[in-house]
């Protein structure tokens, strides 16, 4: 003890974490950490890592236990009081269907991916932070299942979320996104999920769902969202710390990181198109339009982020301008896809009513009335005449993002965009320049994509007909799919609602 000074908080935390680690001698370090070299990232000094938050396990347990106690108390009382009857409208449940089938399984993938990073990054600081995030992400998938479990007791389209996630055509969009990140090296994973997803784009995912829940009276999902907020702020600080650390460590890292930022921005943007559609079309009570959300959370917040990162030489992601221009269109084009393929969707669709159309016109003054309102009005008319429009042809999918090729040319919303590349004598198709670039950078990876439509044609999805495929999806035809109007969900909702009205007389 003689002469040694008492430790400050930072040094104390260092003893609690990085002090635990050591350079191995009985096994070579490269064998203990076999995966953190091949990506070409150069780390000169792992000890330069600044711990973004100093959380020891005892504090972690304490905080998280407290949050869980509160969350589950709310979930229990929500179930007891039949809170599901208090949401804005039966249509709202479709938002939860999209969330549980499309997002929650990715929380799981994040959990396993952060365990990978939490074991295989050589630096102990980021490893500890990644392990905590792995724990958090397991929390997220489990609490989401537990929250939505109550809705599953009453509404269709939720029950087979796990089975569907591995099979249904549009769910391969988020699944391939996370499979891509999970199969990348640990540094790319940290940039893809830690930075691009958790930092750059996270507000565009969680604010729409959580505010959507708040506006639509879904108190259980709101509580989950609030409860996850402090986890997310830790994830954000980890994401930003990782990118700064890589850029500070070696100038050779810049081009690699830039390529990843470009890739994961574009891939994230494509996945978020589903959220855009949810915001503009599926929320009975609107929070804001996708275009407004994009302006606030990407153009403004992302803009100042990249100004901050410019000192490392990092540039705004490639095609950010294209993505911003697409914010005028993407929600409408996606809703059009799901409306046409409603027979193969695990949630219900509908045509917007007059009030909703006017809201869209107001929010999208430059595009909605010109390009989309006429189509919606035609489809609504056809519905009335008993000639509801279905598309029975299987669509061509983008080899990269796996979305049906329905997006239009930048600057020309009347022409569908098609791009292609030839690799080893095979032709591959893309929805955009962004997706084509990603493929061209890693063709050996992207030729492997499990493309749902190809798989159907190859006979790997239960059979050749639509009913065969839907059976293979475990889709309960007439309940899980098709329009909201006429669905068992609607019938149940109307029954509850009628009772409520009668009681209120």
């Amino acid at each position: 003890m003689s002469g040694a000074k008492k430790l400050g908080l930072k040094q104390r935390y260092a003893h609690m974490t990085r002090g635990l680690d050591w350079e191995t001698t009985y096994q070579p370090m490269d064998k203990v950490f076999p995966y953190d070299r091949f990506e070409g990232i150069k780390i000169k000094d792992w000890s330069a890592w600044e711990d973004p938050f100093r959380l020891t396990m005892d504090t972690y347990w304490k905080f998280q236990a407290e949050k869980e106690r509160k969350l589950y108390a709310v979930l229990d009382s929500f179930a007891q009081n039949n809170g599901q009857t208090g949401v804005s409208d039966g249509r709202y449940i479709n938002v939860l269907k999209l969330f549980l089938t499309g997002i929650s399984p990715e929380e799981y993938q994040a959990h396993r991916g952060f365990a990978f990073a939490g074991r295989h990054l050589r630096g102990v600081g980021p490893r500890v932070a990644a392990q905590m995030q792995s724990l958090d992400e397991l929390r997220h998938v489990q609490t989401q299942i537990h929250t939505i479990s109550h809705y599953n007791k009453y509404f269709d389209g939720l029950s087979e979320f796990r089975h569907m996630h591995d099979r249904v055509w549009y769910l391969s969009v988020p699944k391939s996104f996370f499979d891509d990140a999970r199969t990348a090296g640990p540094f790319e994973f940290m940039i893809a999920i830690g930075f691009a997803f958790e930092y750059l784009l996270t507000n565009l995912l969680f604010v729409p769902f959580m505010s959507g829940a708040a506006y639509n009276g879904d108190m259980s999902t709101v509580t989950f969202g609030f409860s996850a907020q402090s986890d997310e702020s830790r994830h954000m600080t980890l994401g930003i710390e990782v990118i700064k650390f890589l850029l500070e460590q070696h100038p050779d890292n810049l081009p690699i990181v830039q390529k990843w930022v470009d890739k994961w921005f574009w891939r994230g943007h494509r996945v978020l198109g589903l959220v855009a559609m949810m915001m503009d079309y599926m929320l009975p009570k609107k929070v804001m339009s996708w275009k407004e959300a994009w302006e606030i959370y990407f153009t403004e917040a992302g803009g100042s982020l990249f100004t901050d990162l410019a000192r490392y030489g990092l540039k705004v992601p490639k095609y950010a301008d294209v993505a911003t221009a697409e914010a005028e269109h993407i929600s409408h084009q996606n809703w059009a896809i799901f409306y046409q393929y409603t027979h193969a969707a695990g949630f219900h669709t509908w045509m917007p009513d007059a009030e909703h159309l006017d809201w869209l016109s107001a929010k999208y003054p430059d595009t909605f009335d010109k390009y989309y309102r006429p189509r919606w009005e035609l489809w609504a008319k056809l519905e009335k005449e008993g000639k509801r429009f279905y598309n029975n042809a299987l669509p061509q999918l983008c080899q990269c993002c796996q979305i049906p090729m329905g997006y239009t040319e930048p600057g020309d919303p009347t022409t569908i965009a098609f791009r292609s590349s030839t690799y080893k004598d095979q032709k591959y198709h893309f929805c955009s320049d962004g997706c084509k670039d990603i493929f061209d950078n890693e063709p050996d990876k992207f030729v492997q994509a499990w493309l749902p439509v190809h798989q159907i044609f190859q006979g790997n999805c239960g059979g050749a007909t639509v009913p065969d495929v839907l059976a293979w999806y475990r889709m309960n035809v007439g309940a899980d799919n098709m329009d909201y109007v006429g669905s068992p969900d609607e019938a149940l909702w109307n029954e509850w609602h009628a009772e409520k009205l009668r009681k209120a007389v």
Partner: protein, 330 residues
């Protein structure tokens, strides 16, 4: 007007999710453990082979030599999901905090004899590195294993080991007046003192084990079962007059081990019981890693207790007896 008050019909359409119902053999109410665990790992139609291991999928049953018809058989008897896990640990940790306050208020670790201090520094504090190694292994099993029934509790266990490494660190800080000098000294012991080199080699060798279930057996049936009781119980005489103090401050470890063993034993028992081939493999792995833990523990116990390694042999015998009770041929 008469109002007919009819209660709303809240009869659920279904009790649980489809995949859970199929496991329960029908649509029955399921627990939160079941809904949060069953089948939540993706299993089919992966898109890309990992850049870092291109011959296997990121979730792939071929990452271990043992074969299960269903990786959701080895369930957790504690039924932990995230909430119950954290609440359990937060409760356990309240006792830890109370014990530290008790010890620190009375200066029980600052007024030690040189023998007591040296004993703890050499015999106990290096354990934080062993826990950190165990944390790496449990994290590896979480990322590399198959099926949430096993991999979920592994990240909990990884968190536990980090927590225990930090409890040991706090003991060191209480010992050295919050300066960290004892921790620095104990790290040198871990890296250089012959007493610990067998243990360090053992854990470093486990780091490169590629078969995740073998790694699970190595960690839980080998390292945990032999070395933790050796240090946390049998080595007590080495703490001299502070036996009780150390016992208080490491109460968490003993409680934890009793609890985690319920889970890890049950996993090993279930996997071994699946087939003759599994039983043979798991038995062979268990025998191998218990033997190695005993050999490394002998040097340690000889150094700490001057017992020529007898304490390690005792711990090894207990570990073997327990392994036999799990159906292993050892």
């Amino acid at each position: 007007m008469t109002i007919q008050i009819k209660t709303l019909d809240f009869e659920p359409k279904r009790q649980t999710f489809g995949h859970v119902a199929r496991r329960l053999g029908g649509d029955k109410p399921a627990t939160r453990y079941q809904e949060g665990t069953f089948d939540i790992q993706p299993t089919h139609n992966f898109h890309y082979k990992p850049l870092w291991e291109p011959d296997l999928w990121q979730y792939d049953v071929r990452k271990t030599a043992v074969v299960m018809e269903d990786w959701y058989k080895p369930l957790d008897p504690r039924q932990y999901y995230y909430a119950t896990y954290n609440i359990a640990r937060a409760n356990m940790n309240q006792a830890v905090d109370r014990n530290f306050v008790f010890v620190e208020e009375r200066g029980l670790l600052t007024k030690l004899s040189d023998t007591g201090r040296a004993g703890i520094q050499r015999g106990l504090l290096p354990m934080r590195h062993l826990h950190w190694g165990a944390n790496m292994n449990m994290t590896e099993i979480c990322q590399r294993g198959y099926g949430t029934a096993v991999t979920g509790p592994c990240i909990f266990s990884a968190g536990d080991h980090l927590g225990m490494a930090q409890i040991i660190s706090r003991i060191g800080l209480a010992l050295d007046g919050q300066t960290g000098t004892s921790l620095d000294a104990a790290k040198v012991v871990w890296l250089q003192d012959p007493a610990w080199q067998g243990v360090r080699q053992l854990i470093e060798d486990s780091f490169v084990e590629r078969d995740w279930f073998q790694l699970y057996v190595a960690q839980t049936i080998g390292i945990n079962a032999v070395l933790f009781p050796l240090v946390y119980r049998l080595a007590e005489p080495a703490w001299a007059e502070s036996v009780l103090t150390v016992a208080m401050l490491t109460e968490f470890m003993n409680d934890w081990q009793a609890e985690e063993t319920r889970w890890s034993d049950s996993v090993v028992r279930t996997v071994a019981a699946e087939s003759g081939a599994n039983r043979a493999l798991v038995s062979q792995w268990a025998a191998h890693w218990i033997d190695r833990a005993v050999v490394s523990g002998r040097t340690l116990s000889a150094a700490l207790l001057c017992d020529e390694g007898k304490a390690a042999d005792t711990a090894g015998e207990t570990a073997r007896t327990r392994a036999r009770a799990l159906g292993l041929a050892i």
